[in-house]
Symmetry: C2
Subunit: 344 residues, 2 copies
């Protein structure tokens, strides 16, 4: 049967100060109508897998996750060991009760505008993958993005295509070539694979991980078994070496976004007639293209400024240019260096 695995392992520094150590971005009310991203992810999971949905998340985030999605089964990782271990743990746990399970893996912290289209794409991926291949949903690139990994296909065809190669985040020139070639898709981390197939791949490529997740599923000491595992992504650890990976290309109309920084919010939440995306008690005078969010009764007022991100959340506020929104990390690093943990 189909089982959806929602990966909720993010640490969430890029959307600071809303995201904190204890509150990663998938739990934040960032979507349209202030819907948390994980709620939308669970809805997409149910559309393809019915009620058989599990969320894999860190032990430390179980409580906060349960508060946002109280009716979904959780698998708690004792510590973060990246996606190969997280997906392996879900696969072993599910296979213990359903050895023939087909897994649909969905990140919890993404936005998808056209959810029905995603369901169609996942159905196509499932059909193409069968029992012995991995079927990914690749995103047709709309810009020369250097922040994503890519899937290369030999020819851009309708329907499922064999993946020739997985490539890392490229530099700018390479990303331009990828975009121009038409043969590269963004790797969104959305894929389907049989539990049996995934565990076999782990046994072949990451045998310690394969053994550990089976032992944990059989009732072993999770913390002791999980701690020594290598921290490696499913892409690096499995996909790049897998014998058969196919992909279906999502059209741009899917409206996929990884909500990688505050700059992504306007596309997800929409903007007003002046191009401003506002939330909470906010006044923007003589400005365009701003994202201004206040999470409480604190009024934020700007005059004469454009393309700025101003976000207040809890005990902290950030002001940054939208095109530098990735640099939120610099603040989080500075706070860590100064020992200001109460803001992290």
């Amino acid at each position: 049967m189909r089982h959806a695995v929602v990966l909720a392992g993010g640490s969430g520094t890029r959307l600071w100060p809303a995201s904190r150590r204890a509150l990663p971005k998938q739990l934040l009310p960032l979507g349209p109508g202030d819907e948390p991203l994980i709620v939308a992810a669970v809805r997409r999971a149910r559309a393809i897998a019915g009620e058989r949905v599990v969320i894999v998340t860190a032990d430390s985030q179980v409580e906060a996750t349960r508060a946002v999605v109280p009716d979904v089964e959780l698998i708690a990782e004792p510590m973060a060991r990246n996606t190969a271990a997280a997906i392996g743990l879900a696969a072993a746990t599910i296979a213990a009760v359903d050895p023939d399970a087909m897994l649909i893996v969905l990140p919890a912290d993404q936005h998808v505008a056209d959810e029905a289209e995603l369901t169609r794409l996942l159905e196509a991926a499932i059909a193409a993958a069968g029992d012995d291949a991995i079927g990914t949903v690749g995103i047709t690139p709309t810009r020369a993005e250097t922040g994503y990994g890519y899937l290369e296909v030999a020819d851009r065809l309708p329907g499922a295509m064999p993946v020739v190669r997985f490539v890392e985040k490229p530099d700018r020139a390479t990303a331009e070539e990828y975009l121009a070639s038409g043969r590269f898709l963004w790797n969104a981390g959305i894929f389907v694979v049989s539990a049996r197939g995934l565990l076999a791949e782990l046994d072949a490529r990451l045998p310690a991980t394969g053994a550990a997740v089976r032992a944990i599923a059989a009732g072993g000491d999770a913390a002791a078994l999980y701690a020594p595992l290598p921290s490696i992504s499913i892409d690096h650890g499995v996909m790049e070496h897998a014998a058969r990976v196919v992909t279906v290309a999502a059209p741009a109309s899917l409206g996929w976004d990884d909500v990688g920084s505050w700059a992504a919010l306007p596309a997800i939440r929409g903007a007003d007639a002046n191009g401003n995306t506002l939330g909470g008690e906010v006044i923007v005078i003589d400005g365009r293209g701003n994202l201004v969010l206040s999470d409480d009764d604190t009024l934020i007022a700007t005059v004469g400024l454009s393309d700025l991100v101003v976000v207040k959340s809890g005990n902290a506020l950030i002001v940054i240019r939208k095109d530098q929104a990735q640099d939120v990390r610099k603040i989080v690093d500075a706070l860590s260096a100064r020992g200001l943990a109460r803001y992290l």
Copy 2:
């Protein structure tokens, strides 16, 4: 004897959100070491007049003022009627007990870097004014400021000079001419005059005001007597028509500033090695020339931004370019228009 009159009548919208209806700028901790401007003004007043210092302020601000300067005598105006009435009320009140009083009038909401120099200038103004003239301290202009009134002198001389003319806020071109001529000084509203002389001027130019302030000083109903008075400044109502006004020119080293907007704060409070003026829990990364102030435990973090004003105070926060800091008024106006009185 000498009596200092500290004028504390400001409504304080230009330093919003720190200044509020109930908390005008002279009461705010804006000076070096977070000293309120009025505390510094009282110190300057005592340096020239000893303990004979009165503060004239609005009835509605008496409590807040007393909290900041608990040991200074207050004269409460029942409502605001501009500086001619405020100074007249002080003059009549003081003259009732000391008919030969010499008044030293000092605005409460200015900054003076070299306080000893101001004392010297006031001594010179007192000597030059005598019993029958008004002696002002004019500020040697350092830029073609269009936001101030000016005093014109016939010739720039050492010591006291007769004032030929008071002029209103000029346009840019006129201000440039004033600066180039060397014969114009900024009118800082700092002057000395005998109580008798001031009351005689009021009787001559604003007889209703002269009569009302005497009647109030004699125990009359302040609200009833004050309400019908014209709202007119001492410059318009008295100085421009006075028979004899002299001025002493303050050198630029006096470090006078009227703290007219947030843009003035760096000059007053100083800046760090990166040219940033910071207060409270603040982190500025890759930025210069910013003023960033937080009044509580709320962290404000900026990355990659320069010449910006970010100020949080109470339940509101402003983000504005330093060179547009005057536009704070637009926010205050917008808040008024929307009925958001809790932020005013």
